[in-house]
């Protein structure tokens, strides 16, 4: 008898619990799942994607950049800058700021804040995330912007920015969040990293920080003092930290979470059948590749000598490996339509630059075998693994642990290469260790992804001089590509620019410094109650102030 009463009581209790949560979630809020805790809300150090998303809504920019699908380019709209005027040869810009924009502590945002922001971002002592991005400004040798030459402040809301005359200036040179001078000024510059403003920022954006509960939520609420405020705006945005991926899926289905990015293709298929959810994706911003070390890493790091790698130094071998890999199978079976084959580091979202005539390397194991034979690799002892002299074609393919897509690709690739007589051992490394190996050129082969920066940047990733760029992981050596990259740095007419871009794609595809695998979408799933949501190459979580319920 007693047990029955206990049981009944607990049943009532549980029912009560499940009722309670219903009524509290009716107000205008949206819950966005993020997988890891943001480290800081300070735009200076917002290195991670989540920090980027949150600080974008806390801090205003000079210009509001929007993506134009048709031209595959960006367009600028007023934000802090009410209007602006380029001079005739576009080496300087005159900016008129809004007079009604305020910091969350009540101070007005002025031209001095703008100047100060560029000062902080370019200061090597601060090590901001934008450091090194001010090459088009008048700057000192250590990278710091030369404030006197660059800025002419006419009054608090009117300033002129001058650029280096010979450079190609783009709108992205102004795309930095503006930070409050009167707050940062009080801090010692090398103490900004650990100061309190990382957690309780003085902000200006359409949203402001309401609460930050460690490892649980970051809650933003609409900022009524911002000129972007609109009464229909969603009043609270909750960034909920859910570290376990499968819980995100469960919570999306249950309505505990309204939006999440980085959904796996297999889940996308199944989520899209849910009547409350809508699945879209950001295309063409990230591609995955198999990196072949083109140069002998050991000789390079010891003596700075550039010697072709024993396996992958030969262009024919790289082409053969690309022929041997069944990229289409990976795209079809894992990405399930949320991706496309990749033939060069420029995707089709760049409507003008993209070379659609590029064929790429279609799966063809026979051709791979022929090419390998031409390069001198044969299986004399018939043990299933090719050899050249006494060297067996056997290497380790490294992948970062905890990434299912790369895991999948690696398994397929291993099997594919085995069929042409190349022995592959897959080794998973923790991401930090993998990056260490790649940067110091200790690894032979690896699978990683590149995120395509806006604006396009080829030199950082593919230029031959390895002392100038650390990011040419494969050690790609090509005179032709170098020539094109240097040419592209000059001021060019549009036609010439596009021709060069196409030429670059043909060159890199022919030489296959890496095997370009596929573009994979960033799949976003959101509850259909969110309206007016823009999802384009800029990212899935942007312009939240335009969302409606």
């Amino acid at each position: 008898m007693r047990w029955k009463i206990y049981f009944l009581l607990s049943l009532i209790f549980i029912l009560f619990v499940s009722c309670e949560k219903e009524d509290a979630s009716l107000t205008s809020r949206v819950v966005i799942a993020i997988q890891s805790e943001p480290e800081t809300l300070n735009p200076v150090y917002a290195f991670g994607i989540n920090e980027g998303i949150i600080t974008e809504h806390l801090f205003l920019y000079l210009l509001d950049l929007k993506w134009n699908e048709k031209t595959g380019d960006v367009e600028a709209y007023p934000m802090l800058a009410e209007k602006w005027q380029w001079n005739s040869d576009s080496t300087s810009i005159e900016i008129f700021l809004r007079k009604d924009s305020k910091w969350s502590d009540g101070k007005t945002i002025s031209a001095y804040d703008v100047v100060y922001s560029f000062d902080i971002y370019s200061d090597p002592q601060v090590q901001s995330r934008f450091f090194g991005m001010f090459k088009n400004f008048f700057h000192f040798d250590d990278g710091r912007v030369d404030l006197e030459k660059t800025f002419a402040v006419i009054d608090s809301f009117h300033l002129i920015i001058n650029f280096l005359p010979e450079k190609v200036i783009s709108l992205f040179d102004l795309a930095f969040p503006i930070i409050p001078k009167h707050i940062y000024e009080k801090l010692n510059r090398n103490e900004i990293q650990t100061s309190e403003i990382n957690f309780s920022p003085v902000s200006s954006g359409p949203y402001k920080l309401k609460m930050w509960e460690r490892n649980q939520y970051v809650i933003l609420e609409a900022n009524k003092n911002c000129f972007l405020y609109n009464k229909d705006m969603i009043s609270q945005i909750i960034f909920k930290i859910v570290s376990d991926y499968s819980s995100i899926i469960t919570q999306l289905k249950k309505g505990e979470v309204d939006l999440s990015e980085d959904i796996k293709p297999s889940d996308a298929k199944q989520l899209s059948t849910n009547p409350d959810l809508s699945v879209t994706s950001v295309k063409g911003r990230q591609f995955e590749y198999v990196g072949w070390n083109n140069i002998d890493g050991k000789l390079f790091s010891e003596k700075n000598n550039i010697v072709p790698h024993k396996f992958f130094g030969d262009k024919k071998v790289r082409q053969a490996l690309s022929y041997a890999i069944n990229r289409k199978e990976i795209v079809d079976e894992y990405l399930l339509g949320y991706g496309s084959l990749c033939n060069s580091p420029i995707s089709e979202i760049f409507v003008n630059e993209f070379d659609s005539t590029l064929k790429g390397f279609e799966y063809n194991p026979d051709k791979a075998k022929t090419l390998l034979k031409e390069a001198g690799w044969t299986d004399k002892n018939q043990n299933g693994v090719l050899e050249k002299g006494s060297l067996e074609f056997s290497f380790t393919l490294n992948i970062p642990s905890g990434n299912p897509l790369r895991d999948y690709a690696a398994t397929v690739i291993k099997n594919n290469l085995k069929q042409v007589g190349v022995d592959v051992i897959i080794e998973k490394l923790e991401f930090g260790v993998l990056m260490d190996g790649v940067l110091n050129r200790k690894l032979d082969a690896w699978i990683l992804a590149w995120f395509i920066p806006l604006p396009l940047d080829l030199k950082t990733y593919w230029y031959s001089d390895l002392t100038q760029t650390q990011l040419n992981f494969a050690g790609y050596q090509s005179n032709e590509a170098d020539r094109i990259i240097l040419e592209l740095e000059k001021k060019l007419i549009k036609e010439k620019y596009i021709n060069l871009m196409k030429k670059f794609q043909q060159t890199i595809s022919e030489e296959q410094p890496v095997t370009f695998l596929y573009w994979f979408d960033n799949i976003v799933c959101h509850n259909k109650r969110i309206k007016n949501i823009t999802i384009n190459p800029f990212g899935p979580i942007q312009r939240i102030w335009e969302w409606r319920l």
């Binding site: 090590q127 650990t194 649980q216 909920k240 930090g432």
Partner: protein, 334 residues
């Protein structure tokens, strides 16, 4: 009087001795962890270095992490800092690691205490039930299912519980510690909110442990019940309840308490699997994420706190054991 005094002195000495050896162990733990993290490959500064930095500037940033000094110098500095209570600043959270640990500790403490209580209570009552109906159907079911529960890995159990209660029945939330609208709830609502969030993780943590306690209680009580003195007491007309409370239970508690000490220690050190499955912000997850992100000061602090808890909980349960049975003073304090 003097005899009591000398006994007290002896006890005090023994306790002091144990305290000293605990401190030594703590010292060894942090030394071991320090050496491990410092000789490991991978570079914690990597993610703070923009790929666009020139190699010299990248080196400058690296230097700011003080990772380039010889390991002995680092170790001495580190010990100096620890001695003054300064565990350093977390790379990841950009604040003192002590502060970070304090934010994560309450969840683990709550989970651990709830779970150990539930384990003991469940284990005890089911054991009593089994003994009352010895060799009958209930007993056999309890015994069999306790073994199955005991061997079932926590992650399997957790996934199953989520699948049943959260996905299929939609009764309880599948993760997190509290709802985002927590602050707007009434006091009662707050309690319910936390309860509903913690029910599944606590069950996941407790069921295998409860099965263990069930076995220990059952075996222990039964062994004592078969002893001659119980028969003698029964024969001399002492009521069964009193025999049970005053004689059987205390005598059968010793193994249970040792197990409880170990169990609590492990629970306090972070209820890792449950925290991962139910995305709770506890010590276990903090430790694993800090290891994965190579947040070395935080790793060391977590190891330290964990070791303190394990030593402490063993000590507490040893004291309880003494309370129950005074004869074992020497045995445990040596």
């Amino acid at each position: 009087m003097e005899i009591i005094n000398s006994m007290m002195n002896k006890k005090l000495k023994l306790i002091l001795k144990r305290l000293l050896s605990s401190i030594l162990i703590l010292f060894l733990v942090i030394t071991m962890v320090f050496i491990l993290v410092r000789i490991s490959p991978g570079d914690p500064a990597q993610k703070y270095i923009s790929p666009k930095l020139s190699p010299e500037l990248a080196q400058q940033v690296r230097n700011s992490f003080n990772l380039d000094e010889p390991i002995t110098v680092q170790y001495i500095n580190f010990l100096k800092n620890i001695a003054s209570g300064d565990f350093g600043i977390s790379y990841e959270y950009r604040m003192p690691v002590i502060k970070v640990v304090l934010e994560f500790l309450p969840v683990t403490l709550l989970l651990a205490f709830l779970s150990i209580m539930l384990q003991i209570i469940l284990g005890y009552y089911s054991a009593i039930l089994a003994i009352k109906r010895k060799n009958n159907f209930t007993d056999r079911i309890l015994r069999k299912s306790s073994i199955v529960l005991y061997v079932t890995p926590g992650f399997v159990l957790g996934v199953i519980l989520i699948y049943i209660f959260s996905v299929q029945l939609d009764l309880l939330p599948s993760g997190s510690f509290k709802s985002y609208f927590f602050d707007e709830l009434s006091l009662f609502g707050k309690l319910i909110d936390i309860f509903s969030h913690l029910l599944l993780p606590v069950l996941t943590l407790s069921l295998p442990g409860a099965a263990l306690f069930f076995n220990y209680f059952r075996d222990g009580i039964e062994e004592v019940l078969q002893k001659d003195f119980v028969l003698y007491l029964k024969a001399s007309g002492v009521s069964e309840k009193i025999i049970f409370r005053k004689h059987v239970l205390p005598n059968s508690l010793k193994p249970v308490l040792s197990i409880a000490g170990i169990e609590l220690g492990f629970l306090l050190s972070g209820t890792l699997v449950a925290e991962v499955i139910f995305s709770l912000p506890g010590m276990g997850r903090l430790m694993v994420t800090s290891i994965l992100s190579r947040d070395f000061p935080l790793v060391i602090a977590c190891a330290f706190v964990t070791a303190v808890f394990i030593i402490f909980s063993n000590f507490i349960f040893d004291l309880i054991k003494v309370k129950v049975d005074k004869r074992i003073w020497k045995e445990i304090l040596s």
